[in-house]
């Protein structure tokens, strides 16, 4: 392997851990679980897109967005609008008073498709909008805030407020958005039934492939000069600015990348689960997405995937078996991870398991500098 490629894959260890993750997603999971459970895992993996985006924004960039649900939701809604239009062709909706528009519009006495639904008749346009709409929205938010040097907790609070506004808007405008139920009853993609088992397998693999691609994009960003600048900005923003870099445009860039990754996750969520609703947009889901990253390790792209998987497995298990304990468990996880293991699972791995493995194998492993940097406590330069 040539040097650039090795570096991109994160050295030997990085390549191995990526291969293990890929094997787990593509081979082990499909063999070990039936299609119902596999579909569920596919759903969890869509959250991993958000978690990876957060590693870039939060772990490296020091920007804690509490509104990633906004972008997950926008991506998911774009996809859902396309599928819904396909499901509401004039033939299958002929009992409505206005055939050819989505059923919830008909229930709300809307007789014409609103203009912002029009582009979603076309699949290529939809796929572009899935990325572009959240990306532009993130650019707008980022440009408005970072140019004015809003950062740290202020940024978190404002993103949270935006998530809350968007949820209220979606629920309030039910004639245009499907309201609190969201956009449901999605059936086909260009005539291909997405509810069959075979379609679920295909979508699962597509999801996995996209996820691995996003990890590689993330790796490329982290290992480039941009990644180093992000870390420098996170730890000493002023010094980076005084060195002549335009701090805000780097922040905007990484925030947009995180948003677009979340949007891909949202679109895949809609395809695999078959609906999209405001309950994936608001404050609570957005903060839950942060905990996936925190548990997995805010400095580790691959750790974030495991974090998303484990927390969601935990959520499903606890809420099935001990429904009352789930919130307590989740809360304890937040407090425990933040206070005890600021680098999450990935940090535990590199500080405890890896040295032990190395001792057993009889070789010395150099410490990962990135993990160390965050272990020192990631202090956020106040605005």
């Amino acid at each position: 392997m040539n040097k650039a490629l090795t570096q991109w894959l994160g050295g030997r260890d990085g390549a191995i851990s990526l291969a293990i993750l890929a094997a787990l997603i593509f081979v082990v999971m499909p063999l070990a679980f039936d299609i119902f459970r596999l579909n569920l895992i596919g759903k969890y993996l869509t959250y991993a897109f958000v978690a990876i985006g957060l590693v870039l924004c939060w772990g490296y960039g020091g920007i804690l967005s509490l509104g990633q649900g906004i972008f997950f939701g926008l991506g998911g809604y774009c996809m859902a609008m396309f599928l819904k239009l396909e499901a509401s062709d004039p033939v299958s909706t002929k009992i409505q008073s206005t055939p050819g528009i989505p059923d919830f519009m008909d229930w709300n006495q809307i007789t014409e498709l609103p203009w912002f639904w029009q582009p979603f008749h076309s699949l290529p346009l939809t796929l572009i909008l899935v990325i572009v709409v959240p990306g532009l929205f993130a650019y707008f938010i980022g440009a408005a805030m970072f140019k004015r040097r809003v950062s740290g907790v202020y940024f978190s609070i404002i993103t949270q407020a935006i998530a809350s506004i968007l949820t209220i808007l979606i629920i309030g405008q039910q004639g245009y958005t499907g309201g609190v139920n969201g956009i449901t009853d999605l059936r086909t993609l260009l005539g291909w039934d997405i509810r069959t088992d075979s379609a679920k397998y295909v979508l699962y693999y597509l999801n996995g492939a996209l996820l691995i691609s996003c990890i590689l994009v993330g790796r490329a960003i982290i290992t480039s000069k941009l990644g180093k600048l992000l870390l420098a900005m996170r730890d000493r923003e002023d010094r980076v600015r005084f060195s002549g870099y335009d701090v805000s445009s780097f922040k905007i860039f990484v925030f947009c990348v995180g948003a677009m990754m979340s949007a891909i996750g949202g679109a895949m969520f809609t395809l695999q689960v078959g609906f999209m609703s405001p309950s994936f947009v608001g404050i609570v889901p957005s903060i839950e997405m942060v905990i996936f990253t925190a548990v997995g390790g805010r400095m580790s792209l691959i750790g974030a995937v495991y974090g998303a998987l484990l927390v969601n497995f935990g959520k499903t298990y606890f809420s099935e078996s001990f429904p009352t304990l789930w919130l307590v468990f989740m809360g304890a996880l937040f407090i425990g991870v933040v206070m005890g293991f600021p680098n999450g699972l990935a940090g535990l791995y590199s500080s405890h398991i890896k040295p032990r493995l190395a001792r057993r194998a009889g070789r010395k492993v150099p410490q990962q500098p990135a993990a160390e940097g965050a272990a020192a406590g990631h202090s956020n330069p106040s605005a």
């Binding site: 609070i157 407020a161 808007l169 937040f334 605005a383």
Partner: protein
């Protein structure tokens, strides 16, 4: 606005403005505690809403107790406010001791840890008091409304809450700007290292300040029981709005907090009559976020050396 005569419109505006003042009171009571904790100390306490809920449940418990002693029913509320304050103060003190003091240097992590704390507290409320909303038995003098003229009704409990807000705000103001302890708090905020150097026990100041902010949220909870019933998630409904109030007003400025609480509550309440409640809220929040993007330091800002 068709269909209303001018005098009716005046009445509607007055009553909506008064409804806005009740919302304003809850915002101010919540925001006062938060303005101390967030504005003065820079700690993001996402569990602040749960301290309001603690205060509200304490008041409900006191009213249950008072039902056994009917002669007390008229006066218990003043005692309940005190109990609400004390319970929230003690819990806040313990939380600072257990969690917050380890995280002063990592504000974003405090945010996550206190969010976790709020989840645990909500579940605790649900297990201890049930998922259903409960309400306190109010003394007779808090019921009913004051009718200065035909068509204009001003609820007494709203007036009471407003009175409580004024008294508490004055107390916080005097505490922060006229007392020795307030001097220490402000010194610690403005320059922690120097405050420590001149002999202020900054760790103790932090602990008491945090607990005090929580105690004020507890009083807000007691006030809350007079205008709405209490459920496990009552407090968390207000948390984002309250943070916006504090940020919008300018962290660290009490006057700013009042001004922003007043404008947000009034905008929401008056718009809410003519538009749907959710549209009113969206318009208000969008305006607030828009103004914050243009003026990140909020309405009134104090320059603080960090």
């Amino acid at each position: 606005m068709g269909g209303y005569s001018p005098s009716e419109l005046v009445d509607i505006f007055t009553m909506q403005a008064f409804a806005g003042i009740s919302l304003f009171s809850v915002f101010v009571l919540m925001a006062l505690g938060l303005a101390i904790i967030f504005g003065q100390m820079g700690v993001i306490n996402m569990a602040h809403g749960e301290f309001l809920t603690i205060g509200a449940y304490s008041t409900v418990m006191m009213s249950k107790l008072a039902e056994h002693y009917p002669s007390m029913l008229n006066y218990y509320f003043f005692l309940a406010v005190l109990v609400a304050f004390l319970v929230a103060f003690i819990v806040g003190y313990l939380v600072e001791l257990g969690i917050i003091r380890h995280l002063y240097k990592r504000p974003l992590d405090t945010l996550l840890a206190t969010w976790g704390l709020s989840l645990i507290m909500q579940q605790f409320f649900r297990s201890a008091f049930g998922a259903r909303e409960v309400s306190a038995t109010l003394p007779d003098w808090l019921m009913g409304s004051w009718t200065p003229r035909e068509g204009l009704d001003i609820p007494i409990n709203g007036l009471f809450v407003l009175g409580l807000t004024v008294v508490l705000s004055a107390a916080v103001f005097i505490f922060l700007y006229r007392s020795r302890w307030g001097l220490k708090v402000r010194a610690t905020t403005q320059n922690r290292a120097m405050a420590g150097a001149v002999g202020i026990d900054t760790a103790k100041v932090d602990r008491i300040t945090f607990a005090l902010g929580c105690g004020i949220a507890g009083v807000a909870g007691a006030a809350f029981t007079t205008i709405a019933s209490t459920g496990p998630t009552s407090g968390s409904l207000y948390i984002v709005d309250t943070f916006l109030v504090v940020v919008f007003g300018g962290a660290g400025s009490l006057i700013g907090t009042f001004a922003s609480a007043f404008s947000i509550a009034q905008a929401q309440s008056i718009l809410g009559f003519f538009l749907s409640g959710s549209t009113a809220k969206v318009i208000t929040l969008v305006a607030v976020v828009g103004i914050l993007m243009a003026r990140p330091e909020g309405l009134f800002s104090i320059r603080v050396r960090k």
